[in-house]
């Protein structure tokens, strides 16, 4: 009889036959998230001379179903930064908790400096890159709005691959195609134009783009959140805004649109 420890507690091979280990190995390789489930659409961000404006609608879609209509996709961190999340909502919740725990740990000692938007963006991008390198990506595309180390307005993007990008105007998802070209009219000379953009101009441009996105993006909603981060580090967040001044006159001419089938 086999007295080796490997055989302890196991049915005896000579009586029951060798152990059938085939079920321990599935025929498929292990796989992680291949596609997001419940998703949020575009996030828009614009820098102006004294801060940053960021906006996203309040919808979370399940495929093409408008599943949740009061979802806050703009989230504040460390009191002075706002992150707008596009993509998977459960991954957003995971990142929210991760960043909150980071903030808690950061404040254990009272050394007098706290996480700014630039820190959060760097951290997030590294998390994204780590997860995509594990073939287990966090399915998000985020905009980080706030202030950098020198207290200047900061706006940057990070996506599920860990790619980062910065510009005075940014948009994720559908907005990257529909809103970004419109927003760029505000800043013809890129970063050099930011000093000429006022808070009102930035807010108006973002609101206009939210409207265009609602017209054209079938995964969007007319309820949205908009936040302004100012140079003083204050955040003015409005979480239940409704699109104003819509005109659907153009839809009249379009056949096969909505309930009109032909």
């Amino acid at each position: 009889m086999n007295h080796f420890p490997q055989a302890w507690g196991r049915p005896r091979d000579d009586i029951y036959g060798p152990y059938d280990s085939s079920h321990l190995h599935s025929s498929l390789p292990q796989s992680h998230t291949q596609s997001p489930a419940v998703t949020g659409t575009s996030v828009l961000g614009v820098k102006f001379k004294d801060g940053v404006v960021i906006a996203a609608d309040n919808l979370a879609s399940y495929g093409s179903l408008a599943r949740f209509t009061d979802v806050k996709r703009l989230r504040t961190f460390a009191g002075t930064s706002v992150i707008g999340f596009g993509g998977d909502v459960s991954d957003m919740q995971y990142l929210d908790r991760l960043l909150q725990s980071l903030d808690i740990r950061e404040n254990y000692s009272s050394h007098g400096h706290s996480l700014n938007a630039k820190n959060l963006h760097t951290y997030l991008a590294k998390i994204f890159y780590k997860r995509r390198s594990d073939f287990n990506p966090l399915w998000n595309n985020v905009l980080v709005a706030g202030l950098d180390d020198e207290g200047k307005p900061f706006l940057s993007q990070a996506d599920l691959l860990g790619t980062t990008f910065s510009a005075p105007t940014l948009a994720t998802g559908f907005g990257a195609h529909l809103a970004q070209p419109l927003l760029r009219r505000l800043v013809p000379h890129d970063e050099g134009s930011v000093k000429d953009v006022t808070r009102e101009m930035a807010i108006d441009a973002v609101k206009e783009c939210m409207k265009v996105l609602f017209y054209r993006d079938a995964r969007s909603s007319d309820r949205y959140s908009i936040a302004v981060v100012t140079k003083e580090g204050e955040i003015e967040m409005k979480e239940d805004e409704k699109l104003e001044g819509q005109s659907w006159a153009f839809a009249d001419m379009i056949r096969g649109y909505g309930t009109q089938v032909n």
């Binding site: 979370a60 949740f68 009061d70 979802v71 806050k72 996709r73 909502v89 957003m92 919740q93 995971y94 929210d96 908790r97 909150q100 725990s101 808690i104 404040n107 254990y108 000692s109 009272s110």
Partner: protein, 303 residues
């Protein structure tokens, strides 16, 4: 101690015939020589204060903080062996973050006190460890607002199944959260307090705390007053070891609508300075000229 030398004090977890654990009692002795720590719990929040004896003139003033933050809404200060206190604080932080991982919300103050009490008590049970040489005072605020789930994205239904219970549904104001102040001793014993004191000057501090009448339901001590009282009590408790210089450290936690918005923070400099000034003024041997000497003369004015 008459029982010293009987052998029952050599190993932890061993009872003496009259039912005492001497190792725990010796640990209490370590605390009795530590810097005085106090906590005051009032309706608006909690104040923690500690008397830090300056052991060397080469130490940087204001560095080497003794009051630690746990999660966002809890502060812990310990008296006794400082490294033991650091370890206990670290454990408290682990407990708080593991609570968050499980329940997606901040740990209630009473639950944290329970976890720490259990942890400290475990160190009285085995011969391979010694008890904690610290008594910890823990103050915090459980939010009085509706408790959000970490990472929550929506508000949920406003009525019906899964809806919320509002004040008018039950015909009275829903009472949630509030201040919490606990003291955990080397035995693992912990009680909730209105005012707590430990360390060298605890007797004087306790009698001062009792005068504040904190337990009375009609007590209306404000948080700012509590800060001033805390500073004064540390100064009073320092009377017996006047030959040693000390530094005062104070933190506070207010309700959500108050100055710290439910967070544990250092008392801001302005209020701190005012509290120290008032504390010095209240001392019996206070001399008007002390002020001017201290502010203008600096070091060379001292003897």
């Amino acid at each position: 101690m008459t029982s010293i030398g009987t052998g029952y004090d050599l190993s932890n977890s061993v009872f003496s015939p009259d039912g005492r654990n001497f190792q725990v009692e010796y640990a209490v002795k370590a605390v009795e020589n530590g810097g005085t720590c106090i906590g005051i719990r009032c309706k608006e929040g909690v104040v923690l204060a500690v008397e830090k004896i300056i052991v060397s003139k080469l130490l940087k003033p204001g560095a080497n903080k003794r009051i630690a933050t746990v999660d966002r809404n809890v502060g812990i200060v310990t008296s006794g062996l400082l490294p033991d206190g650091r370890h206990l604080t670290s454990r408290a932080r682990d407990e708080a973050s593991s609570w968050r991982r499980t329940y997606k919300s901040p740990i209630p103050i009473n639950a944290l006190a329970g976890r720490l009490g259990g942890y400290v008590q475990a160190y009285t049970l085995y011969s391979s460890v010694r008890p904690f040489g610290v008594t910890a005072i823990m103050g915090g605020w459980d939010t009085e607002g509706e408790l959000e789930v970490d990472g929550q994205v929506g508000t949920g239904p406003t009525s019906g199944g899964g809806g919320k219970i509002n004040d008018h549904d039950i015909g009275e104001k829903i009472s949630r959260g509030g201040p919490g102040l606990y003291m955990i001793e080397p035995s693992g014993q912990y009680w909730g307090y209105y005012g707590a004191a430990t360390g060298k000057g605890r007797q004087a501090a306790k009698s001062e705390l009792e005068k504040l009448d904190l337990a009375s339901p009609t007590n209306n001590l404000t948080l700012n007053e509590a800060v001033k009282e805390a500073a004064r009590i540390i100064y009073v408790a320092h009377e017996d070891s006047k030959d040693k210089e000390f530094e005062l450290e104070m933190t506070w936690i207010s309700h959500e609508g108050g100055p710290t918005k439910g967070r544990h923070e250092e008392v801001p400099k302005e209020l701190f300075d005012a509290a120290v000034k008032a504390a010095k003024k209240a001392m019996p041997e206070y001399d008007d000229s002390d002020d001017e000497q201290g502010e203008e003369g600096g070091d060379q004015m001292q003897e």
